[in-house]
Symmetry: C2
Subunit: 188 residues, 2 copies
């Protein structure tokens, strides 16, 4: 095995997903993931802390994109327009591989520990949006409320996208969910 | 010690909160909680699975009240009006003891495991509201979206209430947060 491993991280992710689907998450070991990818366990641990983190590898990218999008929104943008910019950025990261996203979702849904990890991820995304809004001068509780509502929209839109056909555009579903929230709150 | 223990559960909760505040959550043992309450560890375990669950003892009541409130909302009520009824019911459960709620919140905030448990609780409240809405004939994704948005409002309102003076009415702050969400979404 050469010391230089082209896209070792991507190969490990692919191998892990295959094994999680074939054997179940609990039954899969790091050694098996590395072997399937044609790599060593040592290489695995250079890329991921444990097998759970393979499923959350894109969280850091997602967090950065959300924060950047809130920061880059025009100064004149309303609070919710800045949140929507963040959700568009999230949709660009998440809305790519429909089948992989479905597999990941079904693996996570079947395991309590992974569901908890997913909740923590969503909470950190909400916190990142709220922080970005505060840097734009939005006070609390408005910043927290807009961020939490935004993540509620993202979560529901993402699950709706997963349950539908592969060719749907996640950003469009996010926008529809936002419009639906607007309609729902208008009836109070 | 008599076999009949008046309000053993309440005494254990009180003792646990005192010790968590005095010594920290991690440093407190079940034996110490029971001793402080003048009870045995055996009695403790008749009421709580472990020391963590002392902090989440009211979750089941909260869940029931939310579900009942959605169910009892008039058939003519809009989706969000039914959600607001659920949040009013939650405010009635949560909005009582301000100082105890603050202590509980600060104990939970300081511990990653407890923060995770709190996220799971919030997710289960959202699921209970969504289930109640589906039983009212609200389809998905509207049911999930309304429930998630409702929990976002409850969470932000609750934290805002905790950070303010003790004599504020939680139900009123929930209503204000709802109005704020309506204003925020109207600017998209």
């Amino acid at each position: 095995m050469s010391r230089w491993e082209p896209d070792a991280s991507g190969r490990l992710r692919q191998a892990a997903m295959e094994l999680f689907v074939e054997r179940g998450y609990e039954q899969t070991t790091v050694a098996e993931i590395a072997q399937r990818a044609g790599l060593t366990a040592r290489t695995f641990f250079r890329h991921f802390a444990d097998k759970r983190e393979v499923l959350f590898a894109s969280s850091a990218v997602l967090l950065d994109r959300l924060a950047e999008a809130v920061e880059d929104a025009p100064a004149s943008a309303s609070t919710m327009t800045a949140v929507l910019a963040a959700l568009d950025a999230a949709a660009a990261v998440l809305g790519g591989q429909h089948e992989t996203a479905r597999q990941r979702y079904s693996i996570i849904s079947a395991n309590a520990e992974l569901r908890e990890r997913e909740l923590i991820k969503l909470a950190s995304l909400s916190a990142a949006i709220a922080d970005g809004l505060r840097r734009r001068g939005v006070a609390d509780p408005e910043a927290s409320l807009a961020a939490e509502a935004g993540i509620a929209v993202l979560r529901v839109a993402f699950e709706h996208w997963l349950s539908g056909p592969a060719d749907q555009d996640l950003a469009r579903i996010v926008r529809q969910s936002f419009d639906q929230l607007k309609t729902l709150t208008a009836t109070i």
